[in-house]
Symmetry: C2
């Protein structure tokens, strides 16, 4: 495949989002052992129109490290499957109890809770089956270890467990309302670092590993990705305050209504935005070692902080 | 590690079950990112006293193929993690709604539904992280592909989805009560082949692959494992009819009470038992190509058909 860098994130996304969607569709064409309703429910959530931010991060990182889009595609699809499974499970009544996602009924509203649990399980399992397609085998194994850690009990799942606890949904756990503001901010950052940050970071790393990146480039992407993750979460919280349901495709103002910790709730809107802008500048600066190849990632950081306001 | 075959399954299990338990405990010692309640809930289910049938199958297959116990241990632990996650999720109110498992409250009864969903997710994720420890990388990748397929939408999860549907828990799906007896038996066998059979079979295959088994031995284990899986399910159904709660550690007679398809329900107790014995003889015969190294597996097949009656 010809290596054709495109300079803006919008151009990159417009070219590659359809390729990601096509690959996700191919990977969820199941054999006869999969009950039709289960297959439909998996595709309902995975193929719903979405930004595909995580796969695009993986592909942009691969390109920034001199690799091909084609080689990195299994990594891109795997991170989107993990993201999608976590949304399906987080939306369940026992968790965040959401009935709207990307402008449509959530998976359990459409197919029932039992199928929604199983669709999430299937997407999680399929992510690892997909990652095993990476070549050579050493790359597949390293990516599996990194993705499982980022999505595991100490990161993505642990962050969600703490999020549940602070909403008072875990018997015996301390809800957020009983903490000091400083404790609340530290907890909020810790939850987001694990829930959102770890997955954005591993998306970049998997793309880079698929491109056989050296340690210098991996370290630069770590610096970039850590900051990007926080910016992303701050902007998401701000959209919940300022956005409309139409823009978000999900219920807004709901975080505040149920006393969920948010950056604007703790820092105010202006300070949250200021912090996001400072982190974006640091993220862009961290890309130095990657040179011109990182133009898409630079533009992407600016896109995240500028969207919808 | 010295290769020391032991001839009976009981001896083999008595020696190796504690080694499996110790390995499972080591693998679930999480870092500070894992909330204590989540870690406790994972260990509550994974380290509960159990038969460890699937890991013992993996280790016995490795031994039957001339491999070491130590090399196959990650495969043994991974299949137990998958088994345990599927029990935690299947017990949820939206699924089989069980409140007792291995003689103790089910995970969601003890920790709440949200944490139970997350504990299952974490075990599923950890299974793949564990499998990535296999050496060489090509073996880890092949085992990942096989385990993900066996545990995926067309096998384990698909079987559970059809099980939910035949209990009338999937909107729009045909419940079992509206099918003919022949259709019901075919569906029951298909559900068990995917839910129970596929995981027993892949346990054997992963152990054999960790021992670098050739295709002849893998084919013999396939013949053996396919039959063992059905025997196991028939005996489980029979225990539900004939066992006491004390023996089973879970509510009995419940399958019949909710109209769930079972072998004794469709074929009667005597015919179910006759079928299990015939399948056991076939399973033992299939082990021919493995010679004396397969003594433990031979004995195990007889143990399954003879337990508790």
């Amino acid at each position: 495949m010809i290596h054709t860098p495109t300079s803006t994130f919008a151009e990159f996304a417009a070219t590659l989002r359809p390729q990601v969607d096509a690959a996700l569709s191919r990977l969820t064409t199941f054999d006869a052992g999969c009950p039709p309703t289960l297959g439909e429910s998996i595709r309902y959530s995975l193929l719903a129109p979405g930004k595909r931010l995580r796969p695009l991060l993986a592909l942009a990182a691969a390109q920034a490290c001199g690799g091909s889009i084609e080689e990195a595609m299994p990594a891109a699809c795997a991170v989107e499957m993990i993201h999608c499974y976590s949304l399906v499970h987080d939306d369940l009544p026992a968790m965040d109890d959401d009935d709207l996602r990307r402008g449509r009924p959530t998976n359990h509203k459409q197919y029932g809770e039992g199928i929604a649990v199983l669709a999430g399980d299937a997407l999680l399992t399929l992510a690892f089956e997909t990652l095993a397609r990476l070549q050579p085998a050493e790359t597949a194994v390293r990516c599996t270890t990194e993705l499982a850690h980022a999505a595991g009990a100490a990161r993505l799942i642990g962050g969600q467990a703490d999020d549940l606890a602070q909403e008072g949904k875990v018997p015996g756990a301390l809800p957020a309302v009983d903490r000091s503001p400083a404790e609340s901010l530290a907890l909020l950052e810790s939850i987001h670092r694990r829930k959102t940050g770890a997955m954005l970071l591993v998306s970049l790393r998997l793309g880079a590993l698929a491109a056989e990146a050296d340690d210098l480039r991996l370290a630069a992407l770590d610096e970039y990705g850590t900051r990007l993750g926080l910016v992303f979460q701050i902007m998401d919280d701000l959209l919940d305050v300022r956005g409309t349901e139409d823009q978000m495709g999900k219920r807004v103002g709901k975080d505040a209504a149920r006393g969920k910790l948010t950056f604007p709730g703790l820092l105010g809107v202006e300070e949250s935005l200021r912090r996001a802008q400072a982190l974006t500048a640091e993220a862009v600066a961290a890309l130095g070692p990657l040179g011109n190849d990182a133009e898409v990632l630079e533009d992407l950081a600016r896109y995240v902080v500028e969207r919808n306001h």
